[in-house]
Each structure stands twice: as structure tokens, then as C-alpha cells.
Point group: C2
Chain length 285, copies 2
């Protein structure tokens, strides 16, 4: 049975086909995200070569995932004007005429890492991505956690680092974790992209301080067994030991978190966790 997966990102779409086992991708394509109609047609063109029987979609957000809601499967307040309120799930169902399953990109990525990557064997698995934005998803006992709607963990309010004058770039909250520690926040604070700041130790020290604080907050709420941190900003691998050490410092021995280098880890699925997770949604939902 062929399965299709779409990672619907704000800047690019990734489409893939697998032969039953979502991890074994047999064909894949990636193209920039344009307006909704042309982007979906491009996806349709790719999948026409394969007789997929079901489709999973891992979408950027926020999207309405409350099954009781009239706008289930539609975008909410996204800054991408053309996608605002676009009924993605409904349109995909109409276009493909096969079962379509949908969740957020981070939730799907979390599911993939839990099933095939760094989260294997952990009953409560948190996946965080620090990219242009900041997001996180949770898989608990094999299922994606969802409250009334999907989580929005990028918007936890955090305490400022004493040496950081920056007020944050979140248009809603200023200094939530996305506003302070996303790739965009780095760029706006320093006027340079992350990869141009590799040699500036203070940048990564402050970054790690914030990421550790968000992780501390997620930890005490969710008590995860595994915390996987990925996304473009984490290509700065020196962040891992810094985050672990700030996390241990902030936790200050209150809870027994086990070995912190086994708790806070890098992803293992080479930037394919989104699209693999999209296909896994078919099996899980």
C-alpha cells in the first residue's frame, strides 16, 4: 500500500511517497510554497505518478484541529495572508479523493522521531524545533497530545536574560520563547543570521539560556522522558551541552531527571521527520 505525505511548510512544501513503511521513502519532491491553489496543484502533479491510497499532511500553523469545530482543518491567524482561513484539509480531500489525515508539522515530526528516531521507547516524548519560528509537539503513550486544539508551545512567556536588552519579535507577546529564541529573533536582535554569528559565544550562551528555560517549563508540566531539539538553529551543535547545563542549573536538583545528555538530544531523522511523520499520521489517527 502506497502512502503519501506532505510537509506543508511556510516556505516550502515537501511531498513524499512510501511503500507502507513511512521511513522508507521511495520518491520525494520539494518546492517553494506559493499561493494555496497552485501549491496544491503542484503537489497533486507529483502524487499522480503514484497510486497512493491515503495522504497525511503535516502543516505549518496555527490550524484548527478541533474536530468539533466548523473550521476543522483550516488555517487560523497565520501571517501568510493567502493561507489565512484556507480550508487545507477540505481542499486536499476534494483534490485527492482518498482519506486525508492532518496535524501540525511539529506534532508529526514528534511522532516520526518517537516511532523511528531519537524518541523510540519513550512513553512521553517532546519534540522542539528552533527554526525561523519555534514550535513543539508531544507524543504520549503513542499518541499526539492535543487539548482543545494543537499545542502552541512557542508562546510560553519567559524571564529575560539579565544581559539581553532585546524585547522580542513575537507580534503578539514580544518576549515569548519564539519572540526571544527563534531564528528570526536572532536575526532581528543582532542584524545577522545565526550562521554568521557562529564565533560569537555570547549569542549562543543567551540562546541556550532561553531554550533551557522553555525546556524547564515544558518539563515540569509534561514530565517527558525524552526531549528532542531540532531545527535550523540547532545546527550550532555547541548549543546542546550549553542547554543541558543551563537546564540542570535551573532544575537545581528538584526532580530526578536522569542523565541529562540522554534526556535532551538531537533528532535522528535528517530533516525528514516532518514528512515521515505526515505519513505516520495515517496509521495513528
Amino acid at each position: 500500500m502506497l502512502l503519501g505525505g506532505i510537509e506543508a511548510g511556510g516556505t516550502k512544501f515537501v511531498c513524499a511517497v512510501s511503500n507502507g513503511n513511512s521511513k522508507q521513502i521511495i520518491d520525494k519532491v520539494s518546492f517553494p510554497t506559493g499561493n494555496p491553489e497552485e501549491t496544491l496543484l503542484e503537489a497533486k502533479g507529483f502524487f499522480e505518478k503514484h497510486a497512493i491510497e491515503a495522504l497525511g499532511v503535516a502543516s505549518f500553523g496555527p490550524v484548527d484541529l478541533n474536530i468539533k469545530s466548523k473550521t476543522y482543518g483550516s488555517f487560523l491567524n497565520t501571517p501568510k495572508e493567502k493561507w489565512k482561513h484556507y480550508p487545507l484539509l477540505e481542499q486536499l480531500r476534494a483534490l485527492f479523493n482518498i482519506p486525508v489525515y492532518m496535524d501540525t508539522d511539529v506534532n508529526a515530526a514528534c511522532l516520526a522521531e518517537y516511532k523511528f528516531g531519537a524518541g523510540q521507547g519513550s512513553d512521553t516524548c517532546l519534540y522542539i524545533t528552533v527554526g525561523t519560528g519555534f514550535g513543539a509537539g508531544l507524543v504520549q503513550n503513542g499518541e499526539i497530545y492535543q487539548g482543545k486544539n494543537h499545542s502552541e508551545m512557542g508562546h510560553v512567556i519567559i524571564k529575560k536574560h539579565p544581559d539581553d536588552p532585546y524585547d522580542g519579535c513575537c507580534p503578539y507577546h514580544g518576549s515569548c520563547i519564539e519572540g526571544m529564541a527563534s531564528g528570526l529573533a536572532i536575526e532581528k536582535r543582532y542584524g545577522k543570521k545565526g550562521m554568521e554569528l557562529t564565533e560569537n559565544d555570547q549569542v549562543w550562551d543567551i540562546e541556550a539560556y532561553y531554550l533551557a528555560q522553555a525546556i524547564m517549563n515544558y518539563y515540569v508540566v509534561l514530565i517527558p522522558e525524552k526531549i528532542i531539539v531540532g531545527g535550523g538553529v540547532m545546527k550550532q551543535e555547541k548549543l546542546y551541552p550549553l542547554i543541558r547545563s543551563y537546564f540542570a542549573e535551573q532544575m537545581n536538583g528538584y526532580l530526578d531527571v536522569g542523565p541529562v545528555d540522554e534526556l535532551i538530544v538531537a533528532p535522528e531523522l535528517n530533516d525528514e521527520q516532518g514528512v515521515i511523520g505526515a505519513m505516520e499520521l495515517i496509521r495513528t489517527k
Copy 2:
């Protein structure tokens, strides 16, 4: 079938018996918490008058609730020296020789409010208690949320109010929410108990600011449908509208949370949610 419930608090124990329906308490007693052996014997004395067939225990924490752990059912790092590492569940099982079920006081209270109180009908229900300490529990789809162990939401790190010079009383984290907004924090900050500060508006303004910030953080992680806030400090009822308004201000329209006075509410079970929840554990676990 008679059910027994114990709310094992740090300052007092409440024991109750119900006739199948946990909400209908037919006998109840309360006594100060002493050392473990004498306190358990006092509980045993009360229950001897009733032929209970199962017992639920809602305990102060932290306790080990990881079923895979060797110390499952024992206290962890509690400041109450005599109870530290005490194997509560094991001792109760030995003493009563009937099935015994255990969870934390806040988790049990959450379950009770979800089943019989302010949380009825909400798929994701958060219960917060602001007493001497600060704690919170979550019921999702009818079950108590638990990661690797029970949640420890009282220890989320928060941003300080600009007019608050106090550094917090949590021995581990200083300014976590328990350190800044618990009844003990109020007492330590102002040198007076909450009820003696009723007329001081700034006290409640700052208190509400912190509680709203913690709620904001729980909200974006858990996306609850209902948030019930109880405990001694919330006897200051003017806190409710203040918390709602700070919460709405901090959320700043990012997520559609519905009417905030239906989202953030008072408990309905008159300080019996702990012991009612203890009995409900029998049915749920």
C-alpha cells in the same frame, strides 16, 4: 459497595467513606498530619467502622508515581523529613489489605472537579490550587495526565513583575510560580498572611499578574478547555476578574480562548475535591 478516600495533606489528613458515588460522602473525619505510623493508624481507626472494599489516596507530593520504578508509591524529596522516602502506598496496602490506588492531591482534585464540579463536560481540564504551596493537575479525555511521573507545574519559571522586588521563596528555583505566588510567598514577601492583606490592592494585582502568567504558560502547552483555580489564596475572590484580565492581556488575541470568564473559574466542590477525587481514583485507575 463502600469506598474509602484519604486526602493526605502536609498539614492534615481527611478521610471519607462513600456509598459507591464518591460525591455522596456518608462519613468523614479530619486530623493533623503527624509522623507516618501514627497518622496511618489514625486513618485505620476511622475506616474500621466501615467495610470499605477499596481505598483511594490523594497525597501531597512529590511522590513517585512511575509504575516502572522500584520506589513506586513512595515519597520523594519532601521537606517533611519524617515522610521523605516513606513508602505510603505499600504501607497502606499492608495495613488495609484491600486494593489501594494513589495519585497526587491536585490530580485527584482535578478528577473530582472534572467528574462532578466545574470541569464537567470539558475534554481537557486543568485544576490549579494556590494554597500554602502551588500545584496543578490535568485531566484529559477522562484520564489524569501523567508523563514519566506526575506533573510539577508549581515550578514553572516566570518573569518578574516590574514593581516586585521579591526574589521568591522556592528553595530550588527562587522565582518559580510557587516561589512567587503561593500563600507562603505572600507571607514571606509582606510579612503578613493573605487574609491580613485584603485591603492592599497592589498585593492582589501582583498576585493576579503572576497567576495569569502561569496560566498563560499552561494554556499554550496544554490548550485546556477549562481552568479551575482553587486553594486558600483564591478566597480573595477579586483575584478571579484580575487574573482573567491579565490572562487576556498576555494572550493578546493570539489564540481564540472563548469567553474568559467561562475558561477561568472557581472550583465547585467546597474543599472536598481532594477526598472525592481520592475515591474516584478507584474507578479511574
